[in-house]
Every structure is written in structure tokens, then in C-alpha cells.
């Protein structure tokens, strides 16, 4: 109580558990590396072992601390994901815009999340490696104005997604095989956030995480974890400032008095 009275209250801070899913080699770890360290490694070795990273994201009214779980390197066994998306509040499902099969795999992940994960989970579909397409050249334009890019303008008419892809294939230097419109309309149907990113150039990477942070309902933020929580939480860490919290430092200092029945 005295703490609260003494100073300007800091912005409330909440942890958000986020799971990273997608086919191997679509750039999941690179996206996180860009977000967390603002760094990119060319020809990065496949991730060995699974990664866990955290990064804060500051919103006007609160701070979100992302706990990011990366299944890196173990996609083939598909066994980490169920443990990772358990009670996760957000999922980032990544595909490679130059590899159509990776979007198919992403759709499988979305279906599995919708079937198995917490009902309120926020899912973002992310097409990575935008730098390998013609859209990737202009970082700022492509990132913020999806309607203005060549993919969308070329597709205004009745041209199907396939034709559009082929059309773009023909453009020299453009490796895009998945049209923005195809992925975006799928994301819209399924109620997903949608972005195309480049972990290499940084395009849209922070925007993805900010959009997720904004999309998480306040109600699930209060308690730091999925739905259905209440006031009775006792915490071994100071995850949120709350009367019921238990500090680790208190553990040994805590009153032996009460336990002593003499």
C-alpha cells in the first residue's frame, strides 16, 4: 500500500505468452531476433534447440512483456507446439512469401490453434522474406500501405491468386510465390491479424508485435495468463503488482511465527 502512495504509479505491466509456429526455415527465429535485438544474421544456421526470449513492448496505457516461445529446429516432431500454445495468449504463425507450401503448413497451424489453444488466443499470420520480393525494396511504403503495392493493384480485377503469383514470378528479381491478396483474404476469413515482413530489413517486424499487443483483450491481461483468472493468485515472482503477490525474497524471512503453533 505504501508503495502505491509514494510515487507516480508506473504503467501497468503484463506478460503475454506468445508461441511462434511455422514450417522450418521460414525465418521464425530471425523475426524474433530482429524484434528483440534489432539484428539479422545472413545464412543463419537452423536453430538447434528451442529458444525462449522476452521483449517489452510499450503501449500508451501499459507495457506488454512478450514471452516468446520458438519451436525452432524441432518442427518435424511437432511435439513442442502443444506445450507452447497451452495457455498462450498470442500466436505468430509464419510462412515464407517465396514458398507456397509454407502457407499450407501455416494454415494447418491456424486450424490446430483454433481447435486446441485457448479460445481467446490472438493469432497473427505473417508472410516473411518480403525482401526477396519487389515489394521489399521500399521498406516504408510496402510496410504501411498494403493497398499501394504492385501485388494488390495488379489484382484489382478478376485475376485469381494463382495467375497473380505467376505474373509476379515473371518479374526479374521477384521471388514472390504467395500473393498478398491470397494470404490476406485467408487471414480475414479466419479473423487473423495479417502482415508481410522482412526480418532482414526489419520491415513491419515491430508492427506485428505492437498489433498483437493491442489486440489482446484487457480482460486477459489483468492476470497475466489466459482466461478465467481471479483475485486469488499467489505468485512466486512479482509478475504484477497485486495485493496477493508473494515475493521470493519473503520466502525465508516470512513469518515462522504463524506456522509455530506453540
Amino acid at each position: 500500500m505504501s508503495e502505491a502512495a509514494s510515487a507516480n504509479p508506473p504503467k501497468p505491466s503484463s506478460s503475454v505468452k506468445l508461441v511462434l509456429l511455422g514450417e522450418a526455415a521460414v525465418g521464425k527465429s530471425s523475426l524474433v531476433l530482429r524484434f528483440v535485438n534489432d539484428d539479422f544474421q545472413e545464412n543463419k544456421e537452423p536453430t538447434i534447440g528451442a529458444a525462449f526470449l522476452t521483449q517489452k513492448c510499450s503501449l500508451p496505457t501499459r507495457t506488454i512483456k512478450f514471452e516468446i516461445w520458438d519451436t525452432a529446429g524441432q518442427e518435424r516432431f511437432a511435439s513442442l507446439a502443444p506445450m507452447y500454445y497451452r495457455n498462450a495468449q498470442a500466436a505468430l504463425v509464419v510462412y515464407d512469401v517465396t514458398k507456397p507450401s509454407s502457407l499450407t503448413k501455416a494454415k494447418h497451424w491456424v486450424a490446430e490453434l483454433q481447435r486446441q489453444a485457448s479460445p481467446g488466443i490472438v493469432i497473427a499470420l505473417v508472410g516473411n522474406k518480403l525482401d526477396l520480393t519487389n515489394d521489399g525494396g521500399d521498406v516504408s511504403e510496402a510496410s504501411t500501405a498494403p493497398e499501394a503495392d504492385s501485388g494488390s493493384t495488379g489484382a484489382e480485377g478478376d485475376a485469381g491468386a494463382g495467375e497473380e503469383g505467376e505474373e509476379q514470378d515473371a518479374t526479374p528479381g521477384d521471388a514472390r510465390k504467395v500473393s498478398r491478396r491470397e494470404a490476406s483474404s485467408y487471414a480475414q476469413e479466419e479473423g487473423l491479424l495479417f502482415f508481410e515482413t522482412s526480418a532482414k530489413t526489419g520491415t513491419n517486424v515491430v508492427d506485428v508485435f505492437t498489433a498483437i499487443a493491442n489486440a489482446i483483450p484487457e480482460s486477459s491481461l489483468k492476470t497475466g495468463r489466459g482466461a478465467g483468472a481471479g483475485t486469488g493468485q499467489t505468485q512466486l515472482s512479482g509478475r504484477s503488482a497485486d495485493d496477493s503477490r508473494v515475493n521470493l525474497g519473503d520466502r525465508n524471512a516470512a513469518t515462522a511465527k504463524e506456522g509455530c503453533a506453540c
Partner: protein, 513 residues
């Protein structure tokens, strides 16, 4: 990595129960190549947690393959009203995924070694704990001659203040109770009679009566604090005394007003998954739906064990450690085991009065422990029924509902009928809207820790070991941590430094700054 066979493993862990998962966690910074498999498509093995649909699938699987797991006679009972849309005024079951039903709902005392381990290994940061608040004894109405009122559930005094404040206990009884509590709360060296010299072989009720003149009406409350699932005459003082001590010593250790916690979202199942996640971050490879079909010692020097996986792959490893149900050629555990009847019941009631905040500044408890002596269920010779009531604050069920985990050391229909009557007696005063919506009933084979001989790993061959089946006690027993340490020492060999077991720094970025 393309296939599991590409790697020569240091260790294959079979099964993802708590012991196996803690071993994986203990090795997560060792640099060892660990492959962790589970024959099931889910984590936790016999300690898993399920949604309603998953519970149904689990039941089908267990009943289809009797003898392949410690579970028997699994059945699900649903209320017709809870599904019938025409019964609009009746409480309804929520969608399958609104529930996390745990096969391991045990309480975790705040001074247990598992809490220390979760803290020193830093994985506690991924867990949320809720307080286990009050203990209650069910007293049938005709017993309650003191007040004359239908005060059916009596709160068990958990500390000195409670005893003084309790108006139902006579002054004389309070004095003898205090003498007992003072006796067991004293550090050993202050005791004129050294604890090892004290005779604890007699039944706990006899110990209380003969040594402290504790009157018989206080035996049940003290019995409940020990969480002994055996009947009073069968509960030895050697089991009960250290556990009542544990109860009293734990109160206040992690905060005021409670001595035990449960992990949110599925109890033990959540803890073991957090351990597996930490192990994966350390580089262990995880494969579900992958069982071990055969294990064969070869002459190869470096990786002498050849393991045939159910996926058809064959892999080489230095050693194998697993749950008894996850290794081939398991020895039957019938002889030493006992069977308990258990039930998991979803009810449309919130039992607000079971979760009082009894000390200023204490968290609102999310769990309460209820003991129904056999006599109150019309079965005086039966062992007691325990119900652990979880409120929706545990994240295990939707608001306006609760989960009741029941256990009685009497298997089969007789045990299930005791559990049913206990749940019915608990629900009865809550009014017509309070009903059983769904329940899962089963018998479980296992063991109770008897406190005499510390259990050890079983050796199948010099390179292959198994953990004992998880015990059936209602509070986590520290022997599991000791077993994990024993296995860790075997795997680490000369590298094992006892004082470094499970002591890890935070990984980058994982701290709370």
C-alpha cells in the same frame, strides 16, 4: 535435424510425468544430448490434464487397453439436464476447452523440495500458484450437539490463533491440543526426548490419546491435516506426525494465511510441462506419440543401448530412464501397490464459504481440502473420503462452477459410492441450482508413501532405469525430488556436483526486471 537416428543420444527419457520432466529440467544446462519421448500424444502420462473431449479420448484409450496403465474402470457420467437445451433454467456445461481436468491435482506444501527446486531452477517464473486455504471436516448433523445448528462443515484449526478462536473446542481439549502442537513444532534439539527415540510405530489416534490426552473428537481434524488416506486405526504416527508438522511449518512460508499451493491450469500437469519447456530451451528434443518398443544392450562402447521406437526408428543412446509404464518389460507393480477410487466432478456451485480469507493480507484461496470420515457416510469402517475443491480461480473451470477432486483408499464401486455420497452431501445445502454437471470416475493403482524406506530407482540393466509409479498421496511428497536427483547423479556420473543440482541462473531476458 531430419531424423532422430542421426544423433547418438546421451539419454533417452521415456514418459513425461513429473519425475521424468524434472530429470529433463535437471539436465537442461548440462550439454547432454537428451531425447524425451512420450507414447501418448499429450504431455504428463499418468499425471496429465485434459479438456472434456480429451478426457473422453483418454477414457476410451484406457478401457481399450486394460493393464497398460495404472487406471481401471474409467467412466464418465454426464447429467442429462446439463446437455438438454430445452431445460433452459438448468446450469449447463461449458465448451470442452473451458476445463482443465487434472490427474495430478495434489497440493504442494510451501516448504516442499519441489518449491525450492522450481525456485532455484528459475522455472517458477512460468508458473502461477494459488493458495490452498482451509481444511474442513464434515460432521453429520446429529453429531453437532454443541450448537444445535446444522453446521455441517467444521473448519480445522490450522494454527495457534485458530485453536484459541475456535468456540467448539473446550478449554480442556484446547490445552491438550496445544501440548501436542507445541511438541511437534519444537526443533529437535530443544526436545528432551529425541525424535528418533520417540515411539511412532503405534496408530496416530493412540499416540494422540496416550501421550497428549487429545480427546477423540479432535482426532479427525488432526488426521485430516496429515492427509492420510488410510482409516484412523491404520494410520501410523510415523506417517501422520511428520505430515502434521509439515502442515504447520509451511503456513506463512510463502505469504500469510496459507501453507500449500496448487499450480494454476492443471496442478502437477502444468508444472511438468514447464519443466519440459525449460528442457527444450536447453536443447532437448521432444517427440510425442513416440513410445519405446524395445531396449537392447549392445557391445558398442560409447552408446551401448539400442532403442527401438514405435515410429519405426532405431536410435543409440548411452542410457535410458523412464516411467515404469513407458518402458518395455515392466515388472508388475501389483504386489506393493494399492488401489484408490478417484473422481473428478464438475459442479454448478461456487462454495464461497469454503474459501475464507482467514488472515489479513492473505490471498483468496482457490482450493480447499474436505475430509469426510467414513462414519459420516454411513460406513464407519471405511477410510476417509477427501475432496479437494478447486474454484474457478484455478483456471480449471468457468466461473460459477467448481471442480471437485475426490479420492478414497477403497477401489471399485464401493469407493465410487462413497465419493458420490460425499459430493452429494457437499452440494445439498447449496440449493437446487447446485448440481453435478459431469464427472469422471476411475480407480488408480499406485502406492502411498509410507515414510519408512526411501524409494529408489529400479534398475532394468546397468544403463536402463525406471522411476516408481507416481504416488497417490494428496500432497506432493518430496521423495520424487530425491529420485530425480538420484537419476541425475547416475547420468552425470563424475560431473555431478550435489550442491549444483537444479541451481540455474536466469536465461538472458527471462528475469523480471
Amino acid at each position: 535435424m531430419e531424423t532422430l537416428a542421426d544423433t547418438s543420444w546421451d539419454l533417452i527419457i521415456a514418459g513425461t510425468g513429473l519425475a521424468e520432466s524434472l530429470l529433463a529440467l535437471a539436465l537442461s544446462r548440462s550439454g547432454k544430448k537428451v531425447l524425451h519421448v512420450d507414447k501418448n500424444p499429450y504431455y504428463g502420462g499418468t499425471e496429465a490434464a485434459f479438456s472434456l473431449d480429451e478426457a473422453q479420448q483418454w477414457m476410451d484409450g484406457v478401457n481399450r487397453r486394460p493393464g497398460q496403465s495404472p487406471f481401471e474402470d474409467v467412466r464418465i457420467v454426464t447429467s442429462h439436464d446439463a446437455h438438454d437445451p430445452s431445460q433452459t433454467d438448468r446450469p449447463k456445461l461449458s465448451p470442452s476447452r473451458s476445463y482443465t481436468l487434472s490427474l495430478s491435482p495434489y497440493s504442494l506444501y510451501t516448504r516442499s523440495q519441489l518449491i525450492s527446486t522450481l525456485i532455484s531452477s528459475k522455472v517458477y517464473r512460468q508458473l502461477d500458484f494459488m493458495a490452498v486455504g482451509s481444511w474442513w471436516i464434515y460432521a453429520s448433523e446429529e453429531d453437532d450437539t454443541l450448537t444445535g445448528a446444522a453446521r455441517v462443515l467444521q473448519r480445522v484449526p490450522g494454527n495457534r490463533e485458530d485453536v484459541f478462536a475456535d468456540t467448539r473446542i473446550s478449554m480442556k481439549s484446547k490445552r491438550s491440543l496445544m501440548r501436542f502442537l507445541r511438541h511437534i513444532s519444537k526443533p529437535a534439539d530443544e526436545e528432551d526426548l529425541a525424535p528418533e527415540a520417540e515411539d511412532l510405530s503405534m496408530p496416530f489416534e493412540e499416540y494422540l490419546a496416550s501421550k497428549f490426552s487429545v480427546p477423540a473428537d479432535l482426532h479427525n481434524p488432526l488426521h485430516s491435516l496429515s492427509l492420510s488416506q488410510l482409516s484412523q486405526p491404520e494410520t501410523s504416527a510415523s506417517y501422520a506426525v511428520p505430515r502434521v508438522q509439515r502442515h504447520l511449518a509451511s503456513i506463512g512460508a510463502l505469504g500469510p494465511g496459507f501453507g500449500a499451493v496448487i499450480s494454476k491450469y492443471g496442478g502437477g500437469s502444468e508444472i511438468l510441462q514447464v519443466a519440459c519447456r525449460a528442457s527444450a530451451v536447453g536443447g532437448a528434443v521432444y517427440a510425442l506419440d513416440t513410445g519405446i518398443q524395445s531396449v537392447e544392450d549392445s557391445d558398442a562402447e560409447e552408446h551401448p543401448v539400442k532403442v527401438q521406437l514405435s515410429t519405426g526408428e532405431s536410435v543409440q543412446t548411452r542410457s535410458v530412464v523412464g516411467a515404469i509404464w513407458d518402458l518395455p518389460s515392466q515388472k508388475p507393480i501389483e504386489s506393493s501397490g494399492i488401489r484408490v477410487a478417484r473422481s473428478i466432478t464438475i459442479v454448478s456451485a461456487i462454495f464461497e464459504s469454503l474459501f475464507p480469507v482467514t488472515v489479513e493480507g492473505a490471498p483468496v484461496p482457490a482450493s480447499a481440502v474436505l475430509m469426510f470420515p467414513g462414519s459420516t457416510l454411513g460406513s464407519p469402517n471405511s477410510p476417509p473420503v477427501y475432496l479437494q475443491v478447486h474454484s474457478s480461480d484455478t483456471g480449471d473451470c468457468p466461473r460459477q462452477q467448481s471442480i471437485i477432486y475426490g479420492s478414497v483408499a477403497q477401489p471399485g464401486p464401493a469407493g465410487q459410492s462413497l465419493l458420490e455420497s460425499a459430493v452429494a452431501r457437499l452440494l445439498q445445502p447449496e440449493g437446487p441450482k447446485a448440481a453435478v454437471l459431469w464427472s469422471l470416475r476411475y480407480s488408480q493403482l499406485g502406492r502411498l508413501s509410507n515414510g519408512h524406506i526411501p524409494p529408489t530407482l529400479s534398475e532394468h540393466s546397468p544403463h536402463v532405469h525406471s522411476f516408481l509409479p507416481p504416488n497417490l498421496d494428496l500432497a506432493f511428497e518430496d521423495e520424487t525430488v530425491s529420485l530425480v536427483k538420484e537419476a541425475w547423479q547416475k547420468i552425470m556420473g563424475d560431473e555431478a556436483r550435489s550442491d549444483e543440482f537444479m541451481i540455474f541462473d536466469d536465461r538472458d531476458g527471462a528475469s523480471d526486471d
